[in-house]
């Protein structure tokens, strides 16, 4: 009987670890516990309050205005790059390879040429493409400040101007197998640490919460962020946070799309079997789908209507 009661937590723990391996969304610390959000309850995720660290004029000047604060050099790439489609040309159907990222060789054929001939299509590269958009933005901002990554061997590839090269090598940086296509938030955090170490500047962290718009602008001085929207059963999704516009966020979805989303703070649960957690919803403007977050109680941060755990993985102060 005692044996049985001890088996249950062990099996639960192993289930959590298994989910972390196959979908974004779970932040599991070395000890196996869910990382608590680094913030006190009650903070408004939609903006207002929160900022407490004074910022210099130089830091503030990194935002474009009082209400617009984006990574303006962040590329908007698509994981569909290199897929084949049929189109009409002069009355004939022709099969063409999508070249939407502007690479010399589109993503899928490029990856095939790098020893992955078994890759027939995207098996789930959202984590890699989102991270690559973030990392390329970082490199461009460093270059604007006169900093070069040429001597940082593990991230020097970011200086390459070809999107396919950058995305493929980013897969290596975040430990993703191109033919398997899975990444975890913790892998993004580790990669951000590698980037911070390469320049000696910046702090990488992971949180199961959404920072407020004011935090993005002030406390974190326009951090670089990927958002892992969990949902182990649904497969999860990663997007890159491009910045803030008024009270909203702008996300770069790795399917080549960009949307305005708003974050709403939910409730704090203290007696969950998974420990403390926060509920946030990320929803599109005007879709009316936000109300669906109330359908399932508790653990329901959303992006659109994809339920699951939200992980914000960020590099600040770089």
């Amino acid at each position: 009987m005692r044996m049985k009661s001890l088996m249950m937590p062990a099996l639960l723990l192993s289930t959590v670890v298994l989910l972390a391996a196959c979908a974004p969304g779970f932040s599991v610390e070395a000890g196996g516990s869910i990382a608590p959000p680094p913030d006190e309850p009650g903070r408004d995720a939609t903006g207002g309050g929160g900022a407490s660290t004074p910022v210099s004029d130089e830091q503030k000047s990194r935002c474009q205005s009082e209400t617009h604060c984006v990574h303006d050099q962040m590329p908007l790439w698509s994981q569909a790059d290199g897929s084949t489609v049929g189109v009409l040309r002069d009355g004939k159907v022709v099969i063409e390879t999508l070249n939407v990222n502007g690479a010399a060789v589109p993503l899928i054929p490029y990856i095939q040429s790098q020893g992955y001939s078994n890759v027939k299509g995207d098996p789930g590269w959202c984590g890699a493409v989102s991270f690559a958009m973030l990392a390329k933005s970082w490199q461009k901002e460093l270059a604007d400040r006169g900093e070069s990554l040429k001597l940082a061997s593990n991230v020097s590839f970011l200086e390459d101007s070809d999107p396919s090269v950058v995305i493929f090598k980013t897969m290596g940086l975040i430990g993703m197998r191109p033919d398997f296509g899975v990444s975890a938030p913790t892998a993004h955090e580790q990669a951000l640490k590698t980037m911070a170490a390469a320049t000696g500047n910046g702090k990488a962290e992971i949180a199961m919460r959404m920072m407020s718009v004011s935090e993005f602008r002030e406390t974190y001085k326009r951090p670089l962020v990927t958002l892992g929207i969990g949902a182990a059963a649904a497969g999860g999704h990663f997007v890159a946070l491009n910045g803030t516009d008024g009270q909203n966020y702008i996300v770069f979805d790795p399917w080549g799309a960009s949307y305005t989303v708003k974050a709403t703070k939910g409730t704090v649960e203290k007696d969950s079997p998974l420990g403390k957690y926060y509920e946030f919803s990320l929803s599109y403007l005007g879709s009316g789908m936000k109300t669906l977050t109330g359908v399932t109680s508790g653990f329901v941060p959303t992006y659109g209507a994809t339920s699951g755990v939200l992980n914000s993985i960020q590099l600040s102060g770089y």
Binding site: L18, T67, T84, N118, S287
Partner: protein, 248 residues
């Protein structure tokens, strides 16, 4: 306590074993499909003539049926997908391209890294690419309706970016988003309609549209805020963020 730790460790190892077993199965499955070698890059880039007919059966009827079956599965699993699809089907004219537009909008609410979703998305984009001129016509005819809802407005902009039409045609769909009063409150909140301005600028820049092609829209947009200095300044900031060469 030691026993618990041991059991936890055993559970962890079991989980890892299962992960590797599943991966091995996936890889083994892929190996089976590798008997046909990947096409060389050069071949992939060469257009393949299929038919002389303008109404060629492409994508095939079977593929179209399969795509709709995949979408139906997603809609069954996700009430938001289903609801958005039905909303747009009611709003758009009754013709085949409207279904593609409704499917495109609805799938945004059900995105994931599942292989089933990748297949659905790529199939959908394949059909959108093929039907681009007709999808474009339906979008032009329905744009005013779609711009009334901020989510559908942004779907319109992102779908316009995906269409296989020249950049100047895309300006016809995205440019009007710039011709509206930019609204921002004293609390620094941007109105839901005005939020789409940035999405339009992002996609116009990505499509390679030159500033001179959007300049008439920008000038007309500026006129809406000529009596509101702050809104006018914020409008300019957004334009120059994505088009640094903009002249006012």
């Amino acid at each position: 306590m030691k026993g618990l730790t041991l059991l936890a460790a055993t559970g962890f190892i079991l989980a890892l074993t299962l992960v590797f077993a599943l991966r091995a199965r996936v890889i083994a499955g892929k190996d089976k499909t590798e008997s046909v070698p990947a096409a060389p890059l050069a071949i992939l880039k060469v257009p393949i003539p299929v038919s002389d007919g303008v109404h060629s059966p492409f994508p095939s009827p079977e593929r179209k049926t399969e795509l709709r079956s995949q979408f139906s599965q997603l809609a069954q699993e996700n009430v938001a997908v289903r609801t958005q699809y039905e909303l747009l089907k009611q709003k758009l004219p009754v013709q085949p391209e409207s279904e593609l537009i409704a499917m495109y909008a609805a799938q945004v609410l059900g995105r994931s890294s599942r292989p089933e979703f990748q297949e659905l998305y790529l199939g959908l984009m394949g059909e959108v690419a093929f039907e681009s001129p007709r999808v474009f016509d339906v979008l032009i005819a329905s744009a005013d309706k779609l711009r009334q809802d901020p989510f559908e407005h942004q779907v319109l902009l992102n779908l316009a970016a995906e269409l296989n039409v020249p950049p100047r045609e895309k300006v016809r769909l995205m440019g009007p988003t710039l011709v509206q009063k930019f609204e921002i409150s004293a609390q620094n909140e941007v109105s839901e309609q005005s939020a789409s301005l940035v999405i339009a600028l992002i996609q116009l820049r990505k499509a390679g549209v030159a500033y001179q092609d959007i300049a008439p829209f920008v000038q007309r947009g500026m006129e809406f805020t000529s009596n509101d200095r702050r809104a006018n300044d914020e409008f300019r900031v957004r334009v120059t963020t994505y088009y640094p060469d903009a002249e006012f």
